[in-house]
Symmetry: C2
Subunit: 527 residues, 2 copies
C-alpha cells in the first residue's frame, strides 16, 4: 500500500538530517582512499554510461540513511504505480506515461479505450514511415524536389528537448552517414526568431513540424501563421509543407492544413515528450527512424534499471537521493550541469526545464504547503567554456553549488589534432578530471586569494561516446531522477500551474483590459 508522505515526516529523513557536514570531502578524496572511492562509488547505467559519485560528500553512513529513505518513501513502489497506469498527476487527474513511448515496464495500460503502449508505438511507426517516404523522395515539394530541411515550430517541451537531442546527435550523424535532413527550430514569439530561421533556409525545400498538444499554444500558432505567410509569399502551398504533432482531440488533428498528423496525448508532459512524436517526427526526419529507435532503446534500458529497488544499483534513484541530501540537509540552493561535450550544448537548458518545471513547487500533491525546500535552480554550459567563465564562483564563491559533470572518452566528429603531446579530446577529458579534484580537494596557499577551500561536491556520468543509445539513457536518467526527487518531496512533478497566471494577464494586456501598474507597464512598452 502506497502512502504519500511529506519528506519531513519520514524517520529516515530525521536520521539523514543528523548527518549534516558528515563527510569532509577534501579528506575523503585525498591519497589512496580517494582512488578507492573512485573505484567503488560507481553505478552502471544504460547506454554504456557509468554514474560515478566518488566526489559527492557521502559515505557509508549517509548512503545507508539514503537507502532507508528510499525504502520509507516507497520510491520503487511509486514508480511502479506510475508505469502501471495510476493517476500520478493528481492535480490534472492524469496518468503519466512517457516511459511507455519507449517500452513496457509493467502492466498493460488502457486509457481512452486503447492500449497506450500500442498507441505510442503506432504513432512512432507512422512517423518512421513518413520519414522514410520523405527520404526516399516519395513525399516531395510541388516541383518533385526532395525536402532538405525540417523546421520544428514549438515552445517549451516541444522545443527544448527535441532541439537539445538534435544538437547532441548532429555531428555524430554526419560522421556516421545518418544525416538525412538539417533541422531548425522556431520557438520564441519574438518575430525576430522566426525571421532569422526563415532567412537561413530554402523554404521551398523545407518541411515544417507544428507541435502543440492542445493545438492552442499562442506562441506556436503565431509562428505557424508567420511561416505560412512566408510560404505563401514564396508562391508555395503551405499545406504541402507542414505536418502537425498534436493530440487527437485538438483542432489540428484532422485539419486539411497539414500533410499528416502524429498524435500524443495528455499523459505525456511537454518536458517529458522527447521520446514521443514530439521528438520522434523531427529526429526521424533528421537522422532516420533507425537512429531514433536506438535513442528510444537507450531510454528504455535506463527505465528498466530505474525499477531496481536498491539505490546502490539504481543510478537515477541514487542521484535523486544525493540531491535531496544536498538540497534539504546541506541547504544548497542550486545545481550546475557541466557536460564536457559540445554536442550537449543545449542539454543544460533542457534539464533546466525538466527539473525546475517539475519540482519547482511549494505545495505537496494534496495542495498543502510544504515546510522544506523543493527543486533547486539548475544552470550550466559546456566545459571547457564554463571553466573560462563562471567556474571562478564555483571554486571560490561564498556559496557551494553541487556539480553534475558529463564526459565521454571519444568525440563524435572523428576529427582531432595533436598539440603539445595530446589530442583535443585528451585535453577535454584531462580538464574534467582535473576540475573534479580541484573542486573536491582544493589547495592551500599562503596567499588566501590563491587558496581553494575545496569540499565542493560533484558527480560525473562517463560514457565511451555520445551515441543515440547513450543520449537516450542520459535523457531518461534525468527524467527518472527528477521523478524520484518529486516522490521524496511529495510534490506533483507532472503539472505546471505556475505558468498559467502570466498567460491570463498577457491576454488581458492584449485586450487592453488592464488598470494600475499593469496598464502602466503596457503603456511603457507601447502595447
Amino acid at each position: 500500500m502506497i502512502s504519500w508522505k511529506n519528506l519531513d515526516t519520514l524517520k529516515a529523513y530525521e536520521k539523514l538530517s543528523g548527518l549534516k557536514n558528515h563527510v569532509k570531502l577534501s579528506d575523503a578524496m585525498a591519497g589512496e582512499s580517494g582512488a578507492k572511492r573512485v573505484a567503488e562509488y560507481s553505478v552502471p547505467m544504460a547506454g554504456g554510461l557509468t554514474y560515478n559519485y566518488a566526489a559527492k560528500a557521502v559515505d557509508g553512513d549517509v548512503l545507508a540513511a539514503l537507502a532507508e529513505l528510499a525504502q520509507e518513501a516507497q520510491l520503487t513502489d511509486k514508480f511502479a504505480a506510475l508505469y502501471n497506469g495510476e493517476v500520478i498527476n493528481t492535480g490534472e487527474k492524469r496518468l503519466v506515461l512517457h516511459q511507455l513511448t519507449r517500452g513496457q515496464l509493467g502492466d498493460d495500460v488502457m486509457a481512452d479505450g486503447v492500449n497506450k503502449r500500442e498507441f505510442y508505438a503506432a504513432q512512432q511507426k507512422k512517423a518512421a514511415d513518413f520519414a522514410r517516404k520523405v527520404h526516399a523522395g516519395e513525399i516531395t515539394n510541388a516541383k518533385g524536389e526532395k525536402f532538405t530541411t525540417v523546421v520544428q515550430i514549438g515552445i517549451g517541451g516541444s522545443d527544448l528537448g527535441p532541439r537539445a537531442m538534435y544538437l547532441a546527435l548532429e555531428q555524430w550523424a554526419k560522421q556516421n552517414g545518418c544525416a538525412k535532413m538539417e533541422a531548425r527550430f522556431i520557438s520564441n514569439v519574438d518575430p525576430d526568431d522566426a525571421a532569422a530561421v526563415l532567412k537561413s533556409i530554402d523554404v521551398s525545400r523545407s518541411l515544417f513540424v507544428l507541435v502543440s498538444k492542445s493545438g492552442t499554444t499562442l506562441e506556436t500558432l503565431t509562428n505557424e501563421a508567420f511561416v505560412k505567410d512566408a510560404l505563401k509569399n514564396a508562391g508555395l502551398d503551405a499545406s504541402k509543407h507542414m505536418v502537425a504533432v498534436t493530440s487527437e482531440t485538438s483542432p489540428l488533428a484532422k485539419s486539411s492544413d497539414y500533410l499528416a498528423a502524429f498524435f500524443m496525448d495528455d499523459f505525456i508532459g511537454g518536458r517529458y515528450s522527447s521520446t514521443s512524436c514530439v521528438g520522434g517526427v523531427v529526429l526521424s526526419l533528421a537522422f532516420g527512424p533507425e537512429v531514433f529507435e536506438r535513442f528510444l532503446n537507450g531510454a528504455a534500458e535506463a527505465d528498466k534499471l530505474a525499477t531496481e529497488p536498491d539505490p546502490m544499483k539504481n543510478a537515477a534513484m541514487l542521484d535523486a537521493l544525493i540531491g535531496v541530501y544536498e538540497r534539504n540537509v546541506q541547504g544548497w540552493p542550486s545545481t550546475a550541469v557541466l557536460p564536457y561535450s559540445q554536442a550537449l550544448s543545449r542539454f543544460p537548458a533542457h534539464l533546466q526545464q525538466l527539473d525546475m518545471e517539475s519540482n519547482g513547487k511549494s505545495v505537496n500533491r494534496f495542495g498543502e504547503p510544504v515546510d522544506y525546500a523543493t527543486g533547486p535552480v539548475i544552470f550550466g554550459e559546456p566545459g571547457t567554456n564554463g571553466q573560462h567563465s563562471f567556474y571562478q564562483l564555483l571554486h571560490q564563491g561564498t556559496d557551494i553549488v553541487p556539480l553534475q559533470f558529463v564526459g565521454f572518452k571519444k568525440n563524435q566528429a572523428g576529427m582531432d589534432v595533436d598539440i603539445q603531446g595530446s589530442t583535443s579530446q585528451q585535453k577535454l577529458c584531462a580538464n574534467v578530471a582535473a576540475q573534479i579534484m580541484a573542486f573536491a580537494c582544493g589547495k592551500k596557499d599562503d596567499n588566501p586569494n590563491k587558496a581553494f577551500a575545496g569540499n565542493r561536491p560533484s558527480s560525473i556520468i562517463i560514457g565511451d561516446q555520445l551515441t543515440p543509445e547513450a543520449l537516450g539513457a542520459l535523457l531518461a536518467h534525468f527524467e527518472n531522477k527528477v521523478m524520484f526527487q518529486g516522490f521524496c518531496w511529495n510534490v506533483n512533478s507532472f503539472d505546471q500551474e505556475g505558468v498559467q497566471l502570466g498567460k491570463v494577464l498577457a491576454k488581458r494586456v492584449l485586450a487592453h483590459d488592464t488598470d494600475g501598474a499593469l496598464k502602466a507597464y503596457s503603456d511603457l512598452l507601447d502595447i
Copy 2:
C-alpha cells in the same frame, strides 16, 4: 581619501539590515499606488534605455539606506579612482581600463609609456581600416576573392561577449544593410566544436581571428592548430587567412603567421573586453566599423551616467545597490536574466561570466575572508521561451529568485504577423508586462496548487529597439553594476585566481604525473 572597507563594517549596512522584508511588494504594486510606482521608480539610461525598478521590493526607506550605503562605500570616488588609472586590480597589480576603450572619463592615463586612451583608439582605428580593406576587396584570399565569413577563435571573455554582441546585432544589421560578413565562433577544446564550424563554412573565403591576450591559452592555440590543419588540407596558406588579437608582448604579436595583429593589454580583463579589439575586430568585420563605433558610443554614454553620485540618477549604481540588498539582507542566492528579445539569446551567458567571474570571491581585496555573501549565481534564457520552461519554479518554487527583465518596443528584423488582433511583437511585450505583475502580485485561489504567492521582485530595462547604441549601453550598464557591487563587497572584481588550480591539474593529467583519485579519474576517461 578612499578607504576600502568590508560591507559589514559600514553603518549604512547595519541600517539596511534592519529593513529586511520591509516592503510588501504585492501591496505596493496593487491598484493605483502600483501605477504611481511604475511612473516614479524609473531612471534614464544611455542608448535610449530606461531602468524601471517599480517591481523591486524597495521604498523610500530602503532607497534612503541604499543612498547612504553608496556614499559611505564611496562608490563614486572608487569609480573615479579606477578610471583615473589607480591600481584597482590589486591582486594582479594592474590598472582597470576597459572604459578607456570607448571614452575618456577623467585624467589622462599613462602606462607602458603611452597614453592608454590613444593606444586603444589607435587599435580601434587599425581594426576599422583593416575591416574596410576586407570589405572593399583590397585584402582577399589568394584567388583574389572577397572574404565572406569571419571566425573568432577564443574562449571565455574572448568568446562569450563578442558572440553575444554579434548575435544581438545580426538581424538588425541584415535589416539595416550593415551585414558585411557572417561570423562564427570556435571556443571549446572539444574537437567537435571546431569540426562543426569548419563543416558549416567555406574555409577558402574565411578569415580567422585568433584571440588570446597572453598568446598561451591552451584551448585557443589547440583550436588554431585545428583550423590551420583544415586550411592546409584545403591547399590554403593559413597566414593569409588569420589575424591575431593579443598583447604586444605575446608570442603572437609579431609573428609572420598572421596577416595582421591588433593589440589589447593587461588592463582589459577578458570579460570586460567586448569594447576592445577583442570585440572590435570581429564586429567591425561583421557589421562595419561604423556600427562598432555606434556600439562604443552607447557604452561611453552609459559610463558617463555611471559617474553620477546620486544613485537615484545612476541606473548602474542603483541596480547594484538593490542587488546587494537582495543578496545580503534578503538572502537570495541567485538572479535570473530574462531578455524578451531573441537577439539577446546569449546575453545571459555573457552576464553569467561577467558577474560570477568578477564577484564570485570569498576574500576581500586584501585577501581576508569575508563574512557575507558575495556574487550570486546568474542564469537566464530569452522570454517567452523561459516562460514555458523554468518560470514554474520562479512563480511557485520554495526559493525567491530576483529577476532582471529586458524588453524593446520594436523588433529588429522588420517582419511581423497579426494574429488574433495583435502582432508577435505586441504579444512579446504583453508577456513581459504580464510576468512582472504576476511575479509581484501573485493571485489568491481556493486551490492552493493554482495560487501564486507573488512578492517576487523584478526590474526591467526598456528600450525602443535593440540598436548598436542600446546594446553598448546595456553592456556597459552591467559592467558598471558589477563593478559597484564589487566595491560594496570590497572584493577585487578584476582577477580570477579561481580558474588556476584546474589548469595546473589538467596539465599534470596530460603529463601522466598523477596519483590517487586524479589518476583513477584519468584512467576512467582513458587519458
